[in-house]
């Protein structure tokens, strides 16, 4: 079951680009590469507790690992943070590393959409990144419009 639709992958990429604005990928250390997920984490832990978030992130990682193989080398600990990231960061080339980041985030958003619906997922993301509110839209209509505009 692939919940990371192209629309979600595009949003994931936009969020990552937004968070890393002004810096290049090489400037990131392992602790900051999943900054978008960290920001989501703060909100989601408040909503569902550490255990709830840990379970959700672990599921997203498991789904993304099928698409990006290096992700199978890391795992989510009980606190809901990644372990094994530094090693992976050293071993994986930047393009592949970015692909993994997008995949995990897209699946995390996909899981949220599947569980609480499109509307609430959009609202949650807009609450964390209010400056992107006007560009966040995951609905099918917006996808059609977006495709037509290309």
């Amino acid at each position: 079951m692939n919940q990371a639709t192209p629309k979600l992958q595009a949003l994931a990429r936009d969020l990552i680009v937004h968070e890393t604005l002004g810096r290049t990928l090489s400037e990131f250390d392992a602790a900051t590469v999943f900054q978008v997920i960290e920001r989501l984490r703060a909100h989601l832990v408040n909503l569902m507790g550490t255990g709830g978030f840990q379970a959700l992130l672990a599921r997203a990682l498991a789904l993304a690992s099928v698409e990006v193989l290096w992700l199978s080398k890391i795992h989510v600990n009980a606190a809901g943070t990644f372990e094994g990231l530094e090693t992976a960061h050293r071993e994986v080339n930047p393009a592949e590393f970015l692909k993994g980041r997008i995949a995990v985030l897209a699946h995390l958003l996909g899981l949220l959409e599947a569980l609480i619906g499109l509307d609430l997922t959009e609202r949650l993301v807009a609450e964390i990144w209010p400056e992107l509110r006007s560009t966040i839209s995951l609905s099918a209509d917006s996808e059609v419009q977006s495709d037509a505009a290309k």
Partner: protein, 522 residues
């Protein structure tokens, strides 16, 4: 800082005639249809209420419904979840209800998970976190779900006195902060007496569900609610797309204006029957038409309603057996136009036949229609069909609820004609197998009798409270004018009431009846 809230109803009085001004307790309207009436005007502002009951009885849905009905950006609702249903699931399922407004999530309604604090720290930390969040958000309503899980965890680590102290401090802080609080939890009936929490709180709303045969009954009881005159007893609850809907045992009829002392007599639409009734049915009476199938009970009911429409009296026909088209077509065959009344909004024919209705829901459907058209006349055709339309578990309450509804409606001056099917036996005259005659002021009995080789119909007024009536047994026919009473009192037969009379006088000459014509298919 308190912000004005439109969703409040003042139930207390700020002033007394001969004393100092007393505090006015305002009630938070719950957003649950029928519940505010049961609560005596809503939930008292700044109170602490337990929403308790068995699993699946609708506690969380009720809490959400109240939350969404009252949440504002200035006084948001903080929904604290603790070791109960995960928020993700809550959001997933609750958004299926119409009251769930996704636009309010995160701003007007905020979910905060306290599970980690509860698991990793103590009650003081939980209280500190709630106080911090409430103060920061200027919350108007706080929900703690499940409070039972919190208390159970705390009890396993500290004594009951600690938990009691926690509730006391929580209550004091939230009331002082002008917050109305709901503690949601699964409790069993026995705990109300044993658990000191139930003594501390201001209100207890108890939800339950009981399976009976193939149906499930949901019930709500306001066990206590300080400062409010609640409606006692168990009230039926239904959970549907709109959330919870409560049906008050009082049917919302408390405080209806009494019927006038001077009562008119209303025509039945059958002049000769009016004469038998001493001029017609007294306004505000409940009339029962009892008779076997085919004796014209529905025809008589149709004429009663049509006569009301002719005299500017709106009416409701609550029918449980025949379809509405059958009524309008029969009326047209009698030269009566019910459709015009329906089009003008002075008549509603309610076809109520689903087999899982609760008695109170049905009563509410009738009462709503009465309010809509400002009905003066009501037909219930038939009581047997009405009872059959109910889910089996509700039938035990049928007579009690019917009694309350008929009492309240006739008390308000609405005239009711009910029909009931009675099987004729040919040895005696039963009024009804159904012990409902106590509901009625007047009873008319229809029956078949065998006369001169024909099965004819006779009627007799059995009872008429507060008026003289004819004692005659009269023959009637159903013609193209409806029910028509045709014969004067028959003195040449004895035993008409048994259905098989014998002749005591000479046989009268009469013409042979022509054979019936075949119906032409349309």
């Amino acid at each position: 800082m308190t912000q004005p809230n439109d969703n409040l109803k003042t139930t207390g009085s700020a002033e007394t005639l001969n004393g100092p001004a007393k505090v006015a307790i305002r009630g938070l309207l719950t957003g649950v249809s029928g519940l505010d009436d049961i609560l005596g005007g809503g939930i008292p502002e700044f109170s602490l209420t337990i929403v308790g009951g068995t699993p699946g009885s609708g506690k969380t849905t009720l809490a959400h419904q109240i939350a969404f009905a009252n949440a504002t950006p200035n006084r948001p609702v903080l929904y604290f979840t603790i070791l109960g249903e995960p928020v993700v699931k809550m959001l997933r399922y609750q958004q299926q209800f119409a009251f769930f407004d996704t636009a309010k999530i995160g701003s007007d309604v905020r979910f905060i998970n306290l599970s980690d604090v509860v698991m990793d720290r103590d009650l003081n930390a939980v209280l500190d976190e709630i106080m911090k969040q409430v103060t920061a958000a200027n919350a108007g309503i706080v929900v703690v779900d499940s409070f039972r899980s919190l208390a159970r965890k705390a009890l396993s680590e500290v004594g009951e006195a600690e938990v009691q102290s926690f509730v006391h401090r929580l209550s004091a802080f939230l009331t002082s902060s002008q917050v109305t609080t709901f503690l949601v939890g699964e409790y069993s009936d026995g705990e109300i007496e044993e658990n000191s929490l139930f003594t501390i709180v201001d209100g207890i709303i108890w939800l339950s569900q009981v399976a009976e045969r193939n149906s499930v009954l949901r019930k709500l009881q306001v066990v206590k609610l300080r400062g409010q005159a609640t409606v006692p007893g168990l009230h039926t609850v239904r959970i549907g797309y709109d959330g919870l809907q409560a049906f008050s045992r009082s049917l919302g009829l408390m405080g209806n204006k009494p019927r006038p002392a001077e009562r008119r007599q209303l025509s039945t639409g059958i002049p000769e029957l009016d004469n038998m009734l001493g001029g017609g049915i007294h306004e505000g009476d409940s009339l029962l038409i009892a008779g076997p199938s085919g004796t014209g009970k529905s025809a008589l009911a149709t004429q009663f309603i049509a006569d009301g429409l002719r005299h500017g009296e709106p009416g409701i026909m609550a029918i449980f057996e025949e379809r509405p088209e059958g009524y309008t077509e029969r009326a047209e065959a009698f030269g009566l136009n019910l459709r015009a009344g329906e089009e003008k909004g002075t008549l509603e024919i309610l076809y109520l036949r689903p087999l899982d209705l609760s008695v109170d829901e049905t009563m509410f459907a009738i009462l709503d229609a009465i309010k809509r058209v400002r009905a003066k006349r009501l037909v219930i055709d038939s009581l047997v069909g009405f009872e059959m339309a109910l889910a089996p578990g509700f039938r035990a309450d049928f007579r009690e609820s019917l009694y309350r509804m008929i009492g309240a409606l006739t008390g308000a001056g609405i005239t009711i004609l009910s029909t009931v099917e009675v099987e004729d036996n040919f040895s005696s005259l039963q009024f009804s197998h159904y012990a409902i005659s106590f509901l009625t002021d007047d009873i008319i009995r229809l029956r078949y009798v065998e006369i001169d080789g024909q099965l004819r119909k006779v009627l007799v007024v059995i009872k008429m409270r507060g008026g003289n009536h004819s004692k005659d047994i009269r023959e009637y026919v159903i013609s193209d004018r409806g029910v028509v009473v045709i014969e004067p009192r028959r003195t040449d037969y004895i035993g008409l009431s048994t259905g098989i009379p014998y002749r005591s006088g000479p046989r009268r000459a009469q013409e042979d009846e022509p054979p019936p014509e075949a119906k032409v298919a349309e």
